[in-house]
Structures are given as C-alpha cells and as structure tokens.
Amino acid sequence: MVSPVETQGLTKEFRVGFWGKRVRVLSDLNLEVREGEVFGYLGPNGAGKTTTLKLITGLLKPTSGSVRIFGRDCWDFSIKRKVGFLPENPYFYEYLTGRELLNFYGQLVGLRPGERRETIERLAKHVHLSAALDLPLRKYSKGMLQRIGLAQALLNDPDLILLDEPMSGLDPIGRREIRDLIIELKGQGKTVFFSSHIIPDVELLCDRVGILVGGCLVAQGPVDQMLEARIESIEVTVSRVPPGLVEELDHWLVSPPVTKGERLVLTVKDEGTLAELLTRLIEAKAAIHAAAPQRESLEEYFLRHAQPRGGP
C-alpha cells in the first residue's frame, strides 16, 4: 500500500539577512503517514511544522530530499486533486462572501457549476456556516474562518487532508467542533495529517504522532506504544492513618506525602513497594481509597523530547 505522505531526507534551508546566510529549519526528515490514520505532528513553535506542511503542499521547494504523496512526487500536478490543505491561521480574500470564496475555490479544483452549488451547501452545513455564507469574510470570527478554511480544504473530496494548527486560537467549543470533524473524516476513511502544539487534542485524536524539535524528527510512532504503559509511579490515597505511621513509611515513598483535606496521597515507585505499603496500611487499619498507577502523559513525553539536547 502506498503511503499518503512519505518524506525522505527532507531538508530545507532558508537564506536570511543581507548576506544570505543559510539557516537550516528542517533537517533530514523521514516521515511516514499511513493510509486512513490521523497523524499528529507535534512540536514547539518554530520547530518547522509549518515548513514541513509547505514542503508537502509544494509552497516551498526542498533544499534536498523528497516528498512523495500517494507514491508520486508532491509537485506532480495530478496529485493535488487528492489533497486538501488548511493553512495556519488561514487568510482569505476579505472582500468576498463565504459563498463567493467557496465558489472561487470550487472553480479552482474543477467542480462544475451544479456540482459546486451542491457541494458548497453540503460543506457549509457540515461546518455549521450555512447562516453566515453570504456575509463578507471580514466579518467572520476566527473560529468561522477556521471552519470555512476546513470547508475549502474539503471541496475536492480529498483523500489526504493536511491541517496546519487547526485548533490554535479557538475557544473550547470551536476546538471541539474541529475535533469532531477530524474524527468524522477518519470515519470516512480519509487520512488526516495535522500539526499542533495542543497535546491533549493530539493524544485524543491521533493514531500515530511525530515529534519535531528544532527541525529534527525526534520520535515517530503510535501514541499508545510511545507511552507504552510506562508506569512512572503509583499514587495511593488513604485516610485515617494512625499518627506516627507516615514517618515510618517514609523510606518507601518517592516524594513527600501530600495532604488533600482528610486524605493523604502517598506515592511509591513500583508494584513491589506498593504491596508492602498496602500490607502495612491494612495492618494499621487505615482506610485505602485508591491506588492509581501514574503513566507518563503525551505531554510529559513531549516535554522530555522537546528539551534542548544537553539542557536540563
């Protein structure tokens, strides 16, 4: 099966300043997005996420390396028909109404007039913009612009949908709507590649993620495998602990006990210690409310990888 997106040794350098000094923003990127999956592209600001997307959509030319979309070069004209793209903070022609904008893009993707009208109505309904379709775009809110951006990306019924920071700057309701749309697209068998720095969204939506730091891909793989049930510690919530017992238990704990109202949270390192701790607590007739293993979240995983090398 051909990958919707495959980059090989993708490198991009920009020339900056008067002397045209070369600055490398992306180096030797080998990325693979598989068919039908939602791929999350994570990275701090300035990591090169937008640059990657611009290389994939042919807005930039690579310094070296290649991008293949469904097995073909991304500059291949015919491949653009299969791709929908939502740029970061999309800017559209303000002097047009929503309908005029979609109509214009509909012409560019080669929809016939009748088809166009029908598709625009359907997509507008889909992204909840039917009522605002005849308003000029300069009156649109950020969320509405993001949604009409999504509608224009879907005009050609693409198999691969590229979204650059689709949730940035949106309120929780707007984020939720975009999230639902992505889930729906996946349900239709489409491949979605989206960049983000909002980790909970990525964790919730994505099958696989790639983490980009300083222009280098530091990790790539399925979300659950990446976190691989890596139990960092176990939190035990107890109450009615006899006085003096806490001091006695202290050598088992990895961090000082935390008091939450009546209850006390004790953190131990692993299951072996947990068994000993629980035995001692039961003997002392303390009330045990919960023992919860603490897995590393994607956020912690991300932060661990996003630290500058050699840094803290």
């Binding site: 611009k54 959509t57 939502l86 903070n89």
Partner: protein
C-alpha cells in the same frame, strides 16, 4: 476556466476596492473640468478637450495599473491568501496569467468609461468622432497593459513600494528612451552611445505607443509603423508576463 476564475476574482477585488472609485471619479471630474478651460480659450476648443482628455486617460490609467499592479502577487503573499490558492490543483503560471488578465479587465472597464466620456465630449464639440482619437485611446490602453505587465513582474519578487518605484521609473524612462538615443547620437561620444544603445533596446519604448499628438492635431498616422508598434507592444507584454511566470514558478512562499 481556472485562469478565468482567477481573473474574475482579481477583477472583483479591484471593483470592491474604494481606491479605484476615487481615481475614477477624479478622472471624470478632470474630464468635465476641461470644458471650463475651453470656455476661457479662443479657438482650438476641441484640441484642448482631446489633449486634456487623452492625458487624463493616460495618467489615471497608469495610476490604476501601477497601484493595483504592484500588489497583484506581493499582496497575496503578504496576506497569505496565496497558500490556499497555490495548493489547489492549478499551475503556477495559471495564477500569474489570471491575475494579469484580471487587472487588464479592470483597466478595460475604467478606460472604456473614461473613453466614453471623452468621445462624448469630443462629439458634442465637433459633431463627429475621429478614428484617430479612438486609435490613440486604444494605444493608451496598450501602453497600460504594458505598464501592468511591468508592475506584475516586479510584484513577483519585490515589495509593493519597491515595485511601485521600479515601475514608475521604467514608465518615465520608457517615454524618454527615444530622446536619449537621439541625444547620445548628437552629442555623446562612443562611450555614451555604447551605454545608451543597449538600454534603448532593452527598456520599453513607450513613446512608440503615443499617438496623442496625431489625434489632437489631426496629423497623419502611418499604417505600417502603427502595426509594428502594436506588435512591439504585444511581444514586449508577452515577454514580461513570461518572465513573471518564470520567476513565480521558482518562488518559495515563506
């Protein structure tokens, strides 16, 4: 089809821009104002009207061509509207061609309006419409198409301000190349001739497209020269648009 869509969109953008109306209203007021000058002059009224009218079309047309032309591509890049357009299944050259034709369409509408005003006024004074006047307007339009192509070319690689300066400089130089060449031939040594000669062939020779004097003073127009001038303009425009396409094809959109 896609080129037409881009052209119509560019036309729509211009038509919804207030600056266009400001220029157009000003031009029409100037045209009407020329009739006041006529009332205080003795003889040659229709000449004054034609002279001022043609100058009006030329100046305001150039203003529209330059100020809308310089933003044709650079504004799209600056406002990032280009991202969602270029990522659609279109060729980059189609974008350039569409943008160019859109502005030419805008100019056509404006020049037609101003021309109607001028031809109407001339008809009122003379009772007939001279074909020379129509031909002079057509050649002004041709010149505007060339200026637009210049602005478009600069717009593909530089900022609007720089593009405006470049275009206006070339516009002025284009009107002076023939004079400069003459000047060099008369007074200059070998060096100045060697410097001016290539410039003469490289810069657009806009004075070739100027038939205003012939129209105002009812002078004869040589058919052969006119056809050659027409072809010259068309080839020059084609070369400029092709160059714009070539530059645009290589561009990165950062």
């Amino acid at each position: 089809m896609k080129v037409a869509a881009i052209a119509l969109n560019a036309f729509r953008e211009a038509v919804r821009d207030r600056i266009l109306y400001a220029i157009l209203v000003f031009a029409l007021v100037m045209l009407a104002g020329s009739t006041i000058l006529v009332t205080i002059s003795v003889g040659g009224e229709e000449k004054i009207i034609k002279d001022l009218g043609l100058a009006c079309i030329s100046i305001f047309g150039t203003l529209i061509a330059v100020f809308l032309g310089i933003g044709l591509v650079s504004k799209e890049i600056e406002k990032r509207t280009i991202y969602s357009v270029i990522s659609k299944p279109i060729h980059r050259y189609q974008f350039i061609l569409g943008k160019y034709l859109g502005l030419v369409l805008t100019l056509l509408a404006n020049v037609a309006l101003m021309a109607l005003g001028l031809i109407g006024l001339a008809y009122l004074w003379e009772g007939t419409v001279s074909p020379r006047l129509v031909l002079a307007i057509l050649f002004i339009f041709l010149e505007l198409m060339l200026v637009t192509a210049l602005a478009l070319l600069f717009s593909t690689f530089s900022s609007p301000t720089l593009s405006a300066i470049f275009t206006l400089c070339l516009f002025v130089a284009g009107h002076l190349t023939a004079d400069l060449r003459l000047f060099a031939a008369r007074f200059g040594g070998v060096l100045s001739k060697a410097a001016i000669e290539p410039l003469y062939f490289l810069l657009p020779n806009l004075s070739r497209l100027n038939l205003k004097d012939q129209a105002v003073h009812s002078l004869g127009i040589d058919g052969g020269t006119t056809i050659l001038s027409f072809l010259y303009a068309i080839f020059y425009i084609a070369a400029l648009v092709l160059a714009a396409m070539a530059i645009f094809h290589q561009r990165d959109f950062q």
